[in-house]
């Protein structure tokens, strides 16, 4: 390793650096520019530039800062998801924030900072770096959730999210400190090495694993650590809900994969049963709770909980298929879910909150295209072919079957079948009920772009997934 910092390490974090600089510029520009939408466009350009810098790192395998941070295909794959999620969420926000009368420049800067934190999470192979990335993301997100400052629900959501998030970070940190005590190092490789030298039933190792796992399950909203999700998702600005449900979730999973598949991999026989139990509870509770919701934001919040339960299958399987599954599922979920949230965002108009399922009644008669797109997104979320969601679910189930987790696979597929029930409730409202005067959408160029991107990728990944599978496979083969 030698010295901690070399000048070329800056190249390894160029995409992140660019986001920080862009975020600062946005904060200053906020003082000068009246039309805040322009700032949003700048932010998207900034994310695009970061993408270009990221692209230049393709194929490069390197570690930076004395080995606390790596650049590999795995990190790049997830960083791509974060950039996409962030850019599309901003595109959703441009008009929406005007309607909410809360269009301020720091909103866009905060999204960039959060994204930067996520990118560090994906690349971190060291507990401290990981934790700093995580907190950068989390603190920016707490603020964004409470961004509708005159809205009581938004404030409540932010506070709840902050308190529970801080609490879970504390637990996570406790686990990390135990690991440091065991290994005498914060690097994942050293931790794995130290753990493998201890017996599987070593109480301190187990203690560290359990606290670490609890903190992680909080971040991905695994049951029983999921209570913050419905409130936070419902209260947050809808564009931020979309952002959280794709980018924040993907980042948490990237972190989880790194930690569980590298740092505490030696304890795998111990954490598999825990994770399997959490996975089953998460799928089941998420789906069953979603059935009774009449607020679409809450419904999709619970649905996103259940999706986290499915994704855990990939980590439980832990083989190549399982890792590909996690990657491809999160990629698919980014497009599909953003598409669905885009429709919800469009429902919000000056005088209509657009969150109750009744406010989608007869949407098909007023906005047939939006309704059909929403139908496709919902079918994709439910995993019906030929949409992208099917490919994602296929991979997860395949990974579970391949590694002999048959009972788990059966529970998962039955859950997937149940989930169609509440997705179809939205379909029923849109297609089989009469429109009310509250039904309707506002389109904006940003929103249309998001819808177009989402539907294209949802269908293309569904019909011809080969290139995307290859992408995910490269990410995991070279990453581990």
């Amino acid at each position: 390793m030698g010295q901690f910092f070399r000048i070329q390490d800056l190249g390894a974090i160029a995409p992140e650096l660019e986001l920080v600089i862009m975020g600062m510029v946005l904060l200053i520009a906020d003082l000068l520019i009246k039309d805040k939408k322009k700032l949003g466009v700048f932010a998207i350009i900034g994310l695009g530039l970061s993408g270009v810098l990221l692209y230049r790192l393709t194929g490069i395998e390197t570690s930076a800062y004395g080995g606390v941070l790596v650049v590999d295909q795995f990190a790049n794959f997830f960083k791509l998801i974060f950039l996409l999620g962030a850019a599309l969420s901003i595109a959703l926000s441009l008009k929406y924030l005007d309607i909410e009368r809360e269009n301020h420049g720091e909103y866009y800067a905060l999204i960039l900072f959060a994204t930067m934190g996520m990118m560090f999470m994906a690349g971190a192979v060291d507990l401290v770096t990981l934790y700093i990335g995580l907190e950068t993301m989390a603190i920016a997100t707490y603020v964004l959730v409470g961004f509708l400052r005159s809205n009581q629900r938004s404030n409540e959501a932010s506070l709840k999210y902050f308190l529970l998030g801080a609490f879970s970070s504390g637990i996570l940190l406790y686990g990390m400190s135990l690991l440091y005590g065991i290994a005498g190092s914060t690097k994942f490789i050293d931790i794995a090495e130290a753990l493998s030298r201890r017996p599987l039933t070593d109480p301190i190792s187990l203690m560290a694993m359990i606290t670490l796992a609890a903190g992680m399950f909080f971040k991905i909203a695994g049951v029983p650590f999921h209570q913050w999700v419905p409130d936070a998702y419902e209260g947050a600005p809808t564009s931020i809900t979309a952002f959280m449900s794709v980018a924040v979730k993907a980042a948490s999973f990237a972190m989880m994969v790194r930690v569980f598949m590298v740092a505490i991999y030696p304890l795998r026989p111990q954490w598999i049963p825990i994770m399997a139990a959490v996975s089953i509870m998460t799928m089941t509770v998420g789906n069953i709770a979603a059935i009774t919701q009449s607020n679409v934001k809450r419904l999709l919040a619970y649905s996103s909980i259940s999706h986290a339960g499915y994704i855990l299958l990939g980590i439980i399987a832990g083989n190549e298929t399982g890792m590909i599954a996690v990657g491809i599922y999160l990629l698919v979920y980014t497009f599909t879910n953003l598409g669905a949230w885009a429709v919800i965002v469009a429902l919000r108009r000056r005088d209509v909150i657009g969150e109750h399922i009744d406010e989608m009644s007869g949407l098909f008669f007023k906005n047939p295209v939006a309704a059909v797109l929403m139908l496709i997104f919902l079918l994709s979320l439910a995993g019906i072919p030929p949409t992208a969601g099917f490919i994602g679910k296929y991979y997860l189930f395949a990974a579970a079957i391949q590694t002999g987790h048959n009972t788990l696979a059966v529970i998962a597929v039955l859950n997937a079948a149940i989930s169609i029930y509440f997705y179809l409730r939205i379909v029923v409202a849109m297609f089989m009920r009469e429109p009310t005067e509250k039904t309707g959408l506002v389109y904006s160029p940003g929103l249309l772009t998001v819808l177009a991107v989402a539907i294209i990728f949802t269908m293309v990944i569904g019909l011809y997934p080969d290139p995307f599978i290859t992408l995910a496979r490269q990410a995991v083969i070279l990453g581990f």
């Binding site: 079918l379 019906i384 072919p385 030929p386 099917f390 296929y394 189930f397 395949a398 079957i401 391949q402 048959n406 696979a409 059966v410 597929v413 039955l414 997937a416 079948a417 149940i418 169609i420 029930y421 179809l424 029923v428 297609f431 089989m432 011809y464 997934p465 080969d466 599978i469 290859t470 496979r473």
Partner: protein
């Protein structure tokens, strides 16, 4: 483009192409939409006729018109289509019933016409895709895809409890499908190990992951099996069983069917009974039997018991129904029980009869749903007690109804007889008690159908609302005549159909009982019929 080389692809995707064009029509121009959908339906049938003409019946057990194109290479999934004698018949049934269902909707559907026909055409493509797929992944995609249009057909254009019926249909079939997917995955991951152990397998189909159905067929004989315990084959069989049995539907998974049928619009019922249910039986024939031969034998008692319960129970429930459509729906449960009984006799007669009976059921029950739909359109009720003496005001209608009743109960000279007789032959060869139970079903079937006919058509015309009902019009004739022709054709001269089936059926029997042909005497009945 070479029509002959691509014929299966063209036949399958033609309705979908028609649907995409339809989407660009103005939704107010209902006449144009209706004409377009009908033309697509009829042309779809016409372009499927060469399948029958060009099909090499001497090689009916081989897949023909095969096309293979790599699709998802990282999974080993391919675009792979082809048909043998069994799928040929089912494809022809689908292309025949499709346009009839479309035509029958002409005046019944006045609301949201464009979407209605779009969904019907989409459904048609999905069903054809199921029958022509030779790749398990692709099969599964088609299998699930058609749930969506069917859901909408019931949910938007259905009767009073349409939403309940639609979601029930979707949930039931989806639960079955996802378990089917797990079964497929289990086989998929077993294949490379099997190919490594058995060079003949590797030589023909490679050593990598594949979804090729023929590879799975070849693998079937090597799959480990141990009697008495729940082993791999049995688990996979059970997963397949749930998927297919819900679709058939077998007792006790049948409860979605009456709801779906009663609420669905006429065309939906015709397609549902005529084609959709056959996807379940086709699944058993194409996958469960040849891929899992040992488990198939082990589960015969269960399957036969469920079939017999379905035959008798379906018939008894049908008898008690006050609603004509519900009666026909329960009769489907009973008839599909027959199909399953014949199939699990696992001998050539039983299987031949089972497949012929599938076609027959499509024709007779499809026609009966059309007939019920015709009277419903005139009176907006299906209550049996509302009718009586209709034969005096609607003599043509009564005649067609009579023919189809007779076809349904298995009167000689009509199609139902051929199927039931062959199934009974097969069942009798296997176990006389199965035949006795089946016979009871036939008697009950005759009872409820004739009783229905008597209560609606005969007697005095007492309800004044029925006094001025118009008889069949030209369009309604056009929907029924093809089915009448088919009923007589199969009844009088079934040889071409058996010719398509004999070889694939023997192949199937040999998969399950490799030494079946050594028991030559049992095959003589087979020879006589030719």
């Amino acid at each position: 483009m070479d029509f002959r080389a691509n014929i299966l692809t063209i036949v399958t995707f033609f309705p979908l192409a028609g649907m995409i064009v339809l989407l660009f029509f103005n939704k107010e121009n209902k006449t144009l939409i209706k004409w377009w959908a009908n033309i697509i339906g009829v042309v779809g049938f016409l372009i499927s006729i060469p399948l029958w003409l060009w099909f090499d019946f001497d090689r009916a057990d081989q897949f023909q018109f095969v096309q293979r194109v790599p699709w998802i290479q990282s999974l080993g999934a391919e675009y792979h289509v082809g048909i043998d004698g069994i799928s040929l018949l089912l494809v022809m049934l689908t292309t025949l019933l499709g346009p009839l269902a479309i035509l029958s909707s002409w005046s019944a559907i006045e609301d949201r016409v464009k979407e209605y026909y779009a969904f019907l055409l989409m459904l048609q493509a999905g069903m054809l895709g199921v029958f022509v797929s030779l790749d398990f992944f692709m099969f599964y995609v088609f299998w699930e895809v058609m749930l969506v249009p069917m859901y909408f057909l019931i949910g938007v254009w259905g009767g009073a409890r349409k939403l309940y019926a639609a979601i029930k249909f979707f949930l039931y079939t989806l639960v079955g499908s996802v378990l089917l997917l797990l079964g497929i995955l289990a086989l998929y991951f077993t294949y490379p190990t099997m190919a490594a152990a058995h060079p003949e397998l590797a030589q023909q189909f490679g050593t990598g992951y594949t979804f090729n159905i023929e590879a799975f067929h070849a693998m079937g004989q090597f799959l480990p099996f141990s009697a008495g315990v729940m082993d791999f084959q049995k688990w996979v069989f059970l997963a397949f069983f749930v998927g297919f049995a819900i679709k058939v539907p077998m007792f006790p998974f049948h409860t979605w069917l009456p709801d779906a049928h009663v609420e669905a619009p006429t065309a939906g019922s015709v397609i549902l009974a005529g084609v959709l249910l056959k996807m379940g039986t086709y699944g058993f024939l194409r996958f469960s039997l040849p891929i899992l031969p040992e488990a198939t034998k082990a589960f015969v008692p269960l399957m036969v018991t469920l079939s017999i319960i379905a035959i008798v129970y379906g018939a008894l429930v049908a008898m008690m129904q006050p609603d004509m459509k519900k009666l026909v729906a329960y009769s489907s449960v009973s008839h599909m029980g027959f199909v399953m009984l014949g199939m699990f006799a696992l001998n050539p007669n039983g299987l031949n009869g089972s497949i012929i009976q599938q076609i027959n059921h499509g024709i007779s029950t499809g026609a009966l749903f059309l007939i019920v739909g015709i009277i419903y359109e005139r009176r907006h009720t299906r209550e049996i007690s509302q009718f009586g003496g209709l034969s005096s005001v609607m003599p043509k209608y009564a005649t067609v109804f009579l023919i189809m009743t007779m076809s349904s109960i298995g009167l000689p000279l009509l199609n139902g007889f051929i199927g039931e007789f062959t199934i009974m032959q097969g069942a009798f060869q296997k176990n006389i008690w199965w035949a006795v139970a089946g016979g009871a079903g036939i008697v009950l079937g005759a009872a409820y159908m004739l009783w229905l006919y008597q209560r609606t058509m005969f007697g005095k015309l007492e309800n004044p609302a029925n006094a001025k009902l118009p008889d069949l019009n030209l369009r309604e004739w056009a929907t029924l005549v093809p089915l009448i022709i088919m009923a007589f054709w199969i009844g009088l001269y079934p040889a071409p159909f058996f010719r398509a089936l004999d070889k694939p059926v023997i192949k199937l029997v040999l998969k399950v009982y490799p030494d079946y042909l050594q028991g030559a005497p049992r095959l003589e009945a087979q020879g006589e019929r030719k």
